[in-house]
């Protein structure tokens, strides 16, 4: 089945998930622990198993699991965004839709080109594609998990009723999802979003803190968006190189060439095979660390900008209510309503400002910590990979030179292969 491995990735996932979390310090409050230990890929749909462990009495059981689809996560996110009470909070960005388009297209091309390549090359490329598929899978589970963990670690959001339903309700959520769509309507959200930049920059800021934050976030957002795109390009180049090594190693391994090169062919083939493995791994590790980090914070910054937008709208409302009050006083008509309205607007604005300040401060801290962790891990991985690559090459060179060290060289090469 070329389209979807139909894999149950449980065990693999856990082992590979050591490179997890673009956010840190989540999921360490024992009162509510959430994770996604398992996921199933069926056709186009991914089914996540959301597992909760809790000491809170608000839940019916201390430990339970439910199956959820991507659309359920979106529903949860949207209901939180539309909740008036949370207007002063940074709502964790919704996880992006699982995108298997890339590897699926490559699988398709591979299937078409099967006739033109050797069996070894085909097998190798298929394995690489399956690994790529697995990497996408890994990524999507990770990002859905982080979304839930952000919620569970937020003192206000983790008490949300819909959040609890999401975690606990053991039936299909699709009915609720449909109702929500009818209530809020998707297009309204989009329309509103495109106006936010203008509004945020247009409104006169009274608070220094927010003035700084606004400038910073707008600038940072465009820079990080650019960096994300460039990082993605880098990763693609690494993948291309890995594919080239596959082709080269499969060609070199073919009998006619290899005989001619006598024993150097083994060395060269092994070099290329192992280099390709390492290149492929570099590509995926770099993806996970750097690119995912940048992508995630790009979305997070958008969420922070949304907060600023809501506050700016509240400020605009407050200013409008002031104008309305003045008008009412002039006309001596409906003054109490106008005064009431003005008070409400002021309260809302103050509440948003207070909560917003807290949120943005903790957001900065979170961002710094996450960058630090990922940059360190990325550097360590790069060093590890470069060391593996150089030891491979070193041994191969020694091997070619010292032909009397044959038996040792074989042993070393074998060990190295296992290490990779």
């Amino acid at each position: 089945n070329l389209l979807c491995p139909g894999a149950r990735c449980g065990a693999n996932l856990c082992r590979l998930m050591s490179i997890r979390s673009v956010s840190v310090d989540l999921n360490n409050d024992a009162s509510l622990l959430i994770d996604i230990p398992d996921a199933l890929c069926e056709r186009d749909k991914v089914k996540f198993t959301v597992h909760t462990k809790t000491t809170l009495s608000s839940f019916q059981k201390p430990e339970f699991s439910v199956p959820r689809q991507h659309e359920d996560f979106i529903w949860l996110h949207d209901t939180l965004v539309e909740t008036e009470d949370y207007a002063g909070l940074i709502i964790p960005p919704a996880p992006p839709k699982p995108d298997f388009e890339g590897p699926r297209e490559k699988m398709h091309k591979l299937g078409e080109g099967e006739a033109t390549m050797t069996k070894e090359e085909y097998t190798k490329m298929k394995q690489e594609l399956e690994a790529e598929y697995l990497a996408v899978f890994k990524k999507t589970v990770q990002v859905h998990e982080i979304f839930l963990q952000r919620l569970s670690s937020h003192p206000i959001l983790n008490k949300d009723r819909n959040f609890q339903i999401f975690l606990e309700y053991d039936q299909d959520l699709s009915v609720r999802r449909k109702n929500a769509k009818e209530m809020f309507g998707g297009f309204f959200k989009n329309m509103v979003k495109s106006a936010d930049e203008v509004l945020i920059s247009g409104v006169k800021e009274v608070d220094d803190f927010f003035e700084q934050e606004k400038t910073f976030l707008l600038d940072y957002y465009s820079k990080i968006k650019d960096s994300t795109a460039k990082a993605e390009k880098m990763t693609r180049s690494h993948k291309n190189i890995a594919d080239d090594y596959i082709r080269i190693s499969s060609l070199m391994y073919q009998q006619k060439i290899t005989r001619i090169l006598i024993y150097t062919h083994i060395v060269v083939t092994m070099s290329f095979v192992s280099l390709q493995k390492v290149e492929g791994r570099v590509a995926s590790d770099q993806e996970l660390k750097l690119t995912e980090l940048l992508r995630y914070y790009m979305r997070d910054i958008q969420a922070a900008k949304d907060l600023l937008y809501r506050r700016a709208r509240a400020l605009a409302d407050y200013e409008n209510s002031n104008k309305a009050l003045d008008k009412a006083r002039l006309k001596s008509k409906d003054i109490p309503q106008a005064e009431e309205h003005q008070q409400q607007c002021l309260q809302k604005f103050d509440k948003l400002s207070e909560s917003g300040k807290k949120e943005l401060t903790s957001f900065k801290g979170r961002r710094v910590v996450a960058f630090r962790k990922n940059l360190i891990e990325m550097a360590e991985l790069e060093i590890k990979h470069a060391k593996v690559r150089s030891s491979i090459q070193l041994y191969y060179i020694c091997f070619i030179m010292c032909t009397n060290e044959l038996q040792y060289a074989w042993g070393i090469c074998k060990i190295l292969c296992e290490q990779i």
Binding site: S227, Y253, L406
Partner: protein, 512 residues
């Protein structure tokens, strides 16, 4: 080297040793790629442990046993010469490997190994006597001479040698590209038709040269000049490595004399050039029409071998070119990411993180430079080598074609002789004494011609056998040393990368 028993288990500490005559490379059947276990050579062996033929899927497994199973057999080819190599000692130096005592004889071939082995032994004897091969040529200092469309690049050709063939030990001359082409065309006209593999000269490039002439001092024209310089150097080294060509007076003149008559006939758009094209076309047609009765299986097999090699090398060359391209792309993408990361660092308001991001940008930039250098190495070592060999194989195939032509000539003479004899018989029958004498003379001439034709054919066949042997040897050495150089550059790149990332790590850790 006493026992011929082949040890099937590769984990053993015992080295595999084989008797000299034993065939290690049985030509496989039409089956799958890995099938090397010919019936003759593996009677005592447990085929299952070698896992050669059937297990195609396991080819690229992490389990290296499959790879090594073959490998161990092939590697022990060295066993006859192992003592020799041991005495030389392992040295990290790469260039140039002096051939006289260390002979790695590739056992490519079938039941007709005997013939091939003998000829290669001949070579060993040849090389042992006389001058040890010690000559090194370098092509350097490209200089533009003249202006506009008449401008050309002059290169300095320096020869360093201890051979008695030359007057001096070190000397240099200035040559231009057409001089190299002229040398090649002279050598080709002298030696190709008698079966010597004359190394092909680097290819002309009208586009490349025009850029240089016009005076564009940019990256691509510099790269072009460097590429050409390197190709010319390899060309000369290959030419002088050939023991016969080295002694050729044209070669000596090329290397030694300060003035060289300009080789006009090498111009692309000249009458000589057109004549060459016409001849090439004629040759191609002839090749198709000559149906040679190949009585010697060695030649048949070798031709097939070179045909296959041609195909494989071209594919490999294409893949390596793709690698070079992608690595250049990677380098570009890294550079642009580095700039972007630097801007992000500037934008970041947390000081330590900002510094770390700027450092990251610097690391990526440095690594980008490394990747560029690596791409160059990929190119010069692998890609150009493969390109050279694609052209060399064409030259080898050309030599086989010459043998066919020689055979054809011989056959033609024989046919003529036959006709003349028939004509003579007729004349005798019709009793025409004066014409008879003429016929008899012609027959005598033709008989000599036929004898000469046969001798030529034998000679060219013998020469080709020797040449192919020498070619295979050279190629092994060539690839081996190039591969080592390539791996060394890869190694250096990796070690440098380690240094850069290790310098970055404390910066990342310093974020608080």
């Amino acid at each position: 080297m006493a026992d011929a028993a082949r040890d099937p288990q590769q984990d053993d500490t015992g080295l595999l040793e084989l008797e000299d005559g034993e065939d290690l490379f049985p030509e496989p059947g039409p089956g799958p790629a890995l099938e090397e276990s010919g019936p003759a050579s593996l009677t005592t062996e447990d085929l299952s442990t070698n896992a050669n033929g059937p297990k195609q899927a396991s080819l690229f497994d992490d389990d290296p046993d499959d790879l090594f199973a073959e490998a161990t057999e092939e590697v022990s080819l060295d066993s006859p010469d192992r003592d020799v190599l041991l005495s030389d000692g392992p040295s990290p130096a790469i260039t140039p490997m002096t051939p006289p005592t260390s002979v790695i004889t590739p056992r490519i071939g079938h039941a007709h190994d005997d013939m091939f082995t003998h000829s290669s032994f001949d070579e060993i004897e040849e090389e042992d006597g006389g001058d040890s091969f010690d000559i090194h040529i370098s092509v350097s200092d490209p200089e533009k001479v003249g202006d506009g469309m008449n401008a050309y690049m002059a290169y300095k050709v320096t020869t360093k040698t201890s051979m008695s063939l030359f007057k001096l030990r070190e000397f240099s001359v200035r040559r231009r590209f057409s001089d190299f082409l002229g040398l090649h065309s002279k050598l080709a006209s002298k030696y190709l038709h008698i079966g010597y593999i004359v190394p092909p000269a680097p290819e002309k490039s009208i586009v490349g040269m025009t850029k240089v002439k016009v005076g564009k001092e940019d990256q691509s024209s510099n790269e072009f000049v460097e590429k050409r310089r390197s190709a010319l150097e390899r060309y000369l080294m290959r030419t002088v490595k050939h023991p016969i060509l080295l002694k050729d007076p044209d070669v000596l003149q090329f290397l030694e004399s300060s003035e060289l008559p300009r080789a006009v006939s090498t111009q692309a758009l000249s009458s000589a050039g057109l004549l060459r094209m016409v001849n090439k076309a004629a040759d191609a047609v002839n090749k198709m029409t000559i149906k040679m009765n190949e009585s010697d299986a060695w030649f048949e097999e070798k031709q097939q071998h070179f045909e296959n090699l041609d195909v494989q090398l071209r594919k490999l060359h294409a893949s390596v070119e793709s690698l070079v391209l992608h690595r250049k792309e990677l380098s570009m993408n890294m550079a642009s990411f580095a700039k972007s990361a630097a801007m992000l660092g500037n934008s970041e308001d947390h000081t330590a993180l900002s510094r770390a991001l700027s450092q990251l940008a610097e690391v990526e930039e440095k690594i980008d430079q490394l990747q560029q250098d690596q791409a160059n190495a990929d190119f010069y070592f692998l890609s150009e080598l493969l390109g050279d060999y694609v052209r060399l194989i064409t030259a080898v195939k050309g030599v086989f074609d010459q043998r066919m032509k020689t055979w054809q000539k011989w056959q033609d003479s024989q046919m003529m002789l036959q006709k003349k004899r028939e004509a003579e018989a007729k004349l005798q029958f019709n009793n025409k004494p004066d014409k008879l004498q003429q016929a008899k003379d012609e027959i005598k001439e033709l008989e000599m011609k036929v004898q000469q034709g046969e001798r030529d054919f034998e000679q060219i066949s013998k020469t080709i056998r020797k040449e192919v042997g020498r070619f295979e040897k050279e190629r092994v050495k060539d690839f081996k040393s190039t591969v080592i150089q390539y791996l060394e550059t890869l190694l250096q790149t990796q070690q440098q990368m380690i240094k850069y990332w290790e310098a970055f790590l404390p910066e990342a850790k310093a974020i608080s």
